[in-house]
């Protein structure tokens, strides 16, 4: 093994400035965050809500968050893993599921704020660009889309979630440029294509193609769909039912959690300042008593 002189000296580490923790973790884009959170100073403490959409490998997270110095506060949240409750058991991270999650979040927030009767949103998902009209009594709930670190390409699933929230009745400034079905040549949104994506039409088409051409791949790829008994033609019906179920009851269900099990403590408990002082006094008294006893013995 050759001797290589150390690349990074002590001086290097002393001068090294670490990036913010969430930047090191690669989770937060601070440039975008500053611009999303910055509230006009002459609006004082009015919260500025952002609609956070994040995708994991198996789940979709949609939240309405307002920023705070102590930590951001989540007003309402919806997850794709809640969709089985409304009848959607498979395909929980596709465009259609993102639409459902966005719709669920929007209805949940509006119900929480008691605005769900005024702002019905778009009950029939047509794929066209829809923006909420202000009602007589209150202005619509305004929030800003926070995509996080994803690349905003046309047809990305975050925009499916955005469409779900818009149709649910939230006021989110947007353009139709990035919805699935927008063509760069004609600079127009093809509402039909977008509608197909919302109802899983692109998945149904792929299912049909695979069924004819490669049945084995179809069996392996869509095994969960087959288990549920879902045919390509029945997908649209299913999604319509899910939308209706979401609109009927969007309230979040609290899961019953047992209090966590108590574990045996393997290390010493850290003492408080009072306890440490008391211990010291005890030790000193013991020492003095012992010293006193020794002195008495020596004297004798």
């Amino acid at each position: 093994m050759a001797f290589v002189r150390a690349q990074k000296s002590k001086a290097y580490f002393k001068r090294f400035q670490v990036k913010y923790k969430r930047r090191r973790e690669g989770k937060t884009d601070y440039r975008a965050r500053i611009r999303l959170i910055n509230q006009d100073k002459n609006k004082y403490n009015t919260p500025k809500y952002r609609y956070v959409v994040r995708f994991t490998n198996k789940d979709i997270i949609a939240q309405i968050v307002s920023a705070n110095i102590a930590g951001d506060l989540v007003l309402a949240a919806a997850y794709a893993h809640e969709l089985p409750r409304y009848g959607l058991k498979v395909g929980l991270t596709n465009y259609a599921a993102a639409y459902c999650t966005g719709l669920l979040l929007a209805r949940r927030v509006l119900k929480k704020l008691e605005m769900d009767d005024e702002y019905e949103g778009n009950s029939e998902a047509t794929g066209e660009d829809y923006s909420v009209e202000p009602a007589e009594s209150r202005r619509p709930f305004r929030t800003l889309l926070d995509v996080g670190l994803i690349r905003t390409t046309t047809g990305n699933r975050v925009f499916g979630a955005l469409k779900g929230a818009l149709d649910g009745g939230l006021d989110i400034p947007h353009s139709d440029k990035r919805f699935a079905g927008f063509s760069k040549e004609s600079k127009q949104l093809d509402a039909e294509v977008h509608r197909k994506h919302i109802y899983g039409g692109h998945i149904a088409a792929y299912m049909s193609t695979l069924m004819e051409d490669e049945p084995e791949k179809y069996q392996s790829h869509f095994s969960e769909y087959i288990k549920e008994g879902l045919e390509p033609e029945g997908l649209e019906e299913m999604y319509k039912k899910v939308h209706a179920a979401i609109r009927a009851d969007p309230t979040a269900k609290q899961s019953e959690k047992q209090p966590p099990k108590e574990h045996k403590r393997y290390n010493l408990k850290k003492l408080t300042y009072q306890e440490r002082k008391a211990k010291l006094i005890e030790r000193l008294n013991a020492l003095n008593a012992a010293a006193g006893a020794d002195d008495d013995e020596d004297d004798d």
Partner: protein
């Protein structure tokens, strides 16, 4: 060529960011709210180029007289010749910190209000005025042993023993 007296002259050190704090600014700066009448310190953040005050105001404290979308108006005292002028400047919030100069007063107001309310409930009249510290009370000196020091006659022989 001569030095030049531009807007940001002589600010190489005062406007530079502190060691290992360069780059993005913490978000809490943007989440603070300022009301008219608050005291604020003006401290320039060299990485934000917009809404910078002039170098004179760096380190000054003033009161907020205006709040706009991204900035606050601060009223700062400046000595011009033989008088002090109240200057009104607008500064972006990144260059402003809430000042603690007034904090002790505001706390005292709170506690005094509470004491007055309690005394009012009891029906007594109390004075919440601050009193200056008076002279220390008298005390007996303890554990003092008296040592009388007298001069001794000068002993020439012994003192010159070292060198002569």
């Amino acid at each position: 060529m001569p030095a030049g007296h531009g807007l940001r002259s002589r600010t190489r050190d005062s406007f530079s960011r502190p060691f290992r704090k360069k780059g993005p600014t913490p978000l809490s700066i943007y989440l603070r709210t300022y009301k008219i009448g608050d005291y604020v310190d003006v401290k320039v953040n060299g990485s934000i180029h917009k809404g910078m005050p002039h170098k004179f105001y760096h380190g000054r404290t003033g009161r907020v007289w205006n709040v706009t979308k991204r900035a606050v108006g601060v009223e700062v005292n400046k000595q011009v010749g033989n008088r002090i002028i109240r200057k009104r400047i607008h500064v972006r919030v990144e260059h402003v910190q809430p000042s603690r100069c007034h904090e002790e007063f505001l706390q005292r107001v709170k506690t005094n209000d509470k004491l007055k309310a309690e005394a009012n409930a009891r029906g007594e009249v109390i004075s919440t005025k601050r009193q200056p510290k008076g002279p220390k009370p008298g005390f007996m000196v303890e554990g003092a042993t008296l040592e009388t020091v007298t001069p001794i006659p000068y002993d020439v022989v012994n003192d010159l023993k070292g060198g002569y």
